[in-house]
Symmetry: C2
Subunit: 150 residues, 2 copies
């Protein structure tokens, strides 16, 4: 066993996919060279960043979703971007936004289970000196990354 699947999952999380030009050409009834031209244009303009996989996260041990609202400590309050970019490096962080309202950050985190979540939040609160955080746990994911789940 070479455990290729876990490597594949990591690659597909961010990219290593490509458009199906021939299939699209059939679908919208245009020549494949026209489709090709328009896709390259979207890429050139930077409108398309990447092509990636979407998973049934329960089946890949990432079924536990938590939204975490964060207050930063006084030290980091003025510049949340550095903290956010650091957190963004964690592959379990699906999204992170700097936001309005009572909290400065909103993080969408994917872990295997509540135990892994607990470890993550404990370590992260300590490391980044969050002054407060409020976690909302997903009970059921109905749609993710624009893809409806069945």
């Amino acid at each position: 066993m070479k455990d290729i699947t876990s490597k594949l999952i990591n690659l597909f999380k961010q990219g290593y996919c490509t458009p199906q030009i021939a299939r699209i050409a059939k679908k919208i009834k245009e020549p494949s060279t026209t489709i090709h031209y328009n896709i390259k244009k979207l890429e050139r303009e930077g409108k398309i960043i990447s092509y990636k996989g979407v998973f049934d996260y329960k089946k890949i041990e990432e079924g536990h979703v938590t939204f975490i609202l964060v207050n930063l400590s006084d030290d980091n309050y003025g510049e949340p971007e550095g903290v956010a970019q650091e957190l963004a490096k964690d592959p379990r962080v699906e999204s992170i936004d700097i936001c309005t309202g009572d909290y400065e950050l909103i993080i969408k985190l994917r872990t295997k289970d509540i135990d892994e979540y607990y470890e993550w939040i404990k370590n992260t609160v300590h490391k980044f000196k969050f002054s407060k955080s409020y976690s909302i746990t997903s009970l059921k994911q109905v749609k993710t990354e624009f893809v409806e789940l069945k």
Copy 2:
């Protein structure tokens, strides 16, 4: 002008992409047939749902992100799934979860601007009889769909 790009964006939002087997094979130094076999296995097992595009949403007129926490009316409180699945059909809804805590739903919505957001929330509150909602606006997207933004 045939406006092919907007059709492409819609298709890539949910799929119409495919893995780059040859590129992956080089990357992890395994034969492409082995990569092929393992990908098909992941698909067969339902671990991979789809391959899709990720966009620079500001450049495609979807740069305004809002997280909306929702309380349902008494009518819908007991069965939030129906409401969630209905909302999931909207292409501007990136994700929707049924959740713990003070609110029953958490929606991640992408609109062109705050005006489109206002129209959406006004219509949706009315249509689905939300008893209360709390919106958090993203000021800066640092990471989305597991992809770091620059």
